[in-house]
Amino acid sequence: MLKYTLKRLLAFIPMIIVISLIAFIISINAPGDPVESLTKAAGNEGGAEKQSGTAKKDKQKLRKKWGLDLPLFYFSVSDMASCDTLYKVQDRDQRQNLESLIHEFGNWVAVDNYYKSLLNLQKEQQNINIESMCEQDTTLDKNKVNEDLNQIGFNIVGLLEENKKELVDDKFKNLDKLISSDTYFPSLVSLHNNVKFNHKLLFIKETNWKTYIPSINWYGINSQYHWWVFGDFFHWEETERKGIIRGDFGVSYKDSQPIKNKIWNKVGISFTLSLLSILIAYLISIPIGIYSAYKKNSKTDKGISIVLFMLYSLPSFFVGTVLLLFFANPDTLLWFPESGIKDPLNYNPDWSIFNWERIQHQLPYLVLPLITYTYGSFAFLSRIMRVGMIEVVSQDYIRTARAKGLSEKKVILKHALRNSLLPIITVFAAIFPMSVGGSIIIEVIFSIPGMGTEMFNAILNYDYPMITAFFTLIGFLTMIGYLVADLLYAVVDPRISFK
């Protein structure tokens, strides 16, 4: 048994790796720049501040803290033209623009020169002090100068972030007009000429053939993925980043709080509900399955079959809304509260889990969600139980048991039941993810403050780390559900673990 358990555990390792990879791919493909979102969350918003020195430094710190200045994966596959330290460029748009430039011209050195000359131009443009300029030369119109300067800035940023031919030509034309016609930016002229020169060099020094030769870069463990999964593995205690294997999922974009603190109790609520509903489903469906298999092809059996079939096809969100419509609606029947899992006024947080008062208090809140959770898997389970039971009852050993003169009750409950439980246990592995997945819809309908609602809100708020965290967590927990199903299966059927 122990050997079997270990074997199953080993089999889960590739799955865990794949789940973490999928989650990671999703998280890096999320739209928007993570640092921008994080600084926004911290409240450092503001267009003018975007370019200022302190904000930039803050961003750099954040980038370092969350390891965003590292390469993505242990290795990367790219072409010979591309630069293997491109990940160090901070701005996401600029990085993408550089990538496309390299792809187009295939000469990293030339692209680098062009990019640096643009950056120099930008720096000089930001250093120009309009106040002092206007003081020196009083004939200048301050507003116009300011506007021109801003225009130049916009065009430079455009060049830094765009690589569409028409747009680039357009921007260069604008810059030409702005810088050469107005004599009041003398310092920019030479830099601008430098940019133009470097841009022309791009075309001259084009080595496009290099993009057709693949190359593999090896970065080692100092990569984003490694940090995301393992954190700082060598400083076990004092490090801030612990990696998802120690439950650290990063920081929410919404309020900059660690996700770890926000999700654990939510996960608890959701999984309690899921497991409770599966338990109830098993408790109801086994007797029903036995009964309808025992009275096979009778009218009751047919009736039960049809009802189960209907239940199986009913979408859970429909059932949930209809239950709310009929039983939690002041116009029809107000038997149950409409939403939530507790009344904040009467709820006593000191109640222990099995406190009778607490159960009495929370039960009305849970009735409708539990019905919605349960009915689908219950219909599914009953149908499987029925088929399994019918198959077992037609076996030889059941006939033997009957021939021996055992009572019908004993035959069914003692000999048939245990063997017919096998298929129903295997489907635990299928029902569990279904129930967890369904929880997002049901929790949204009944406003249960669990994982599903939280994930729904995260999606509405574009809070990607939160979404990734939930996805990873649910994947891992589902894996545990699988393990439980496997072990249960081995307990019921000892043949399995000896295979």
């Binding site: 799955m15 789940i19 999703i26 693949p214 079939f309 299928a430 993810p433 997002i440 729904f456």
Partner: protein
Amino acid sequence: MIIKFINTQINKENKTDIIKASILTLIYALFFSTIYIGETSIFYISMFCILSVSLSVLIASNIKSKKEVYFRFSLIKKLIVGFILGWIMWPGFGELVGPIIGFYVSSKKRTDKNNFSFQKYAWNQFKKNKIALFSLYLLVTLILIARFAPLIANNQPLYAVYKGVTMYPAFEDKKTTVEIKDPKTGEIEKLQFDITDWRKLNLESIIYTPIPYSPSFLDKENNDYVSPNGKQEFTNHKGELIDSPTIFRHHLGTDGKGADLLSGLIHGTRIALKVGLISMGIASFIGIILGSFAGFFGDRDLKMRRVKYYMTLMGLFFGFFYGFGQRKYAISDGFSQSTSEGMIEFSISILIILGITYIFRLSSRLITNKWLSTEISVPIDSMVSRGIEILNSIPRLILIITVTAIMDRSLTIIMVIIGITGWTGIARFTRAEFLRIKSLEYVQASKSLGFSSFRTIFKHALPNALAPVFVSIAFGIASAILIESGLSFLGIGVPDDVVTWGALLNLGRGNIEAWWLIIFPGIAIFITITIYNMIAEASRDALDPKLKS
């Protein structure tokens, strides 16, 4: 070249058949090219005609027996059926493909009526199940409703005469604008078909569609959750506020903006069916190919020379590098222009990958090193099974929701994602069926005759393995519809302007007083899912008599 090809196909026996077939297709091709393509250039028309005729010759030359008369009723019937089916499935293109498929089917040698065939047996078994048969008819009805939705529920009338001008707005494009001159005053009035409130015009003569509302049409008088049996108001062309006449009533009520619910349901049918079909089409494509390879070859039977194996891997690496890595920008530019442009770029990439892999595989023949030439087996079964296990271990709904969260909101993306995550069941069934089939005599026979594995799989084994897969596909369609409506119920993934059943139900959740917004869309989803489940279950019983207990 084409004429030479036609000449080689004709022999004495099938001469008359081919001449008849060619004349028929020629007429059809002329008809199709002038009406549908609208291309008046003689070059295009003649190209099209030559292609059609050569295709028909190819098909007609397949006719084996001369004894039976094909070109009387059977052919014309199948052409017409093919045309109609093609139009329903894919208007604009299906009309071209449908008749050709019908032609091909009718050119096959007809089996004797008393012959026993498995299909016939299964169909007879299926017919015995009255509920399932009824579900099948209901499904056909739903497909028809989906196809004819613009003629059933539309605020543009079928026929209208206004100030002496006759129009057929329902058959024309939404944005069509007509300028109408008043004969007395000489004023010019502009009518844009989809914006105009036709109910309020003083028309001389009009025929409305059965439900005179589009899902996007907002009724300003009844815009606050009007109940189906409640008071509904209507302002006629004289400006009097009256109770709604029966023809303008919202039979299933409206939502908070005044959109008609029944019209939304009818147009939503289209999306529900489309999602089910397309996503399961993708899923079964992946599932059948992977499942049949895994089942047919197992872990030991796919043998190749070691060098060929390595070369295949190399070829795949280079193929992906040149196909996707190198063409990354070309593909994304294509998709940013239009979906079809993107798909073309994408298929070019796929072709590049296949081509490079093939070249690498070919080049492996040059190497004759002894160690490299030893045969090794590729464990394709374990690979596919592991893949299925991994994909199954992630809750599907959560995976889909997570992926749609980082994507743009679009129906196509949702269909593709549902398809990509939904192939595991189909692959499992195909694999199991192939495991059974590969030891049967006819597969052994085709192997020993020296047919390639490819031919054995797709021509001999696959047609006999499709029965359980079909069942799995039908169940899959039901669950795809369920997932799509669940997503649009949450308001994730599907764009706001697309009216789906789930989105309508979501409106009802927002305002629980409006019970009609909950009950009717819910019942529509429920009925569709039940239909598919019923058909799946009945065909499972029909196709596999062992399972019937």
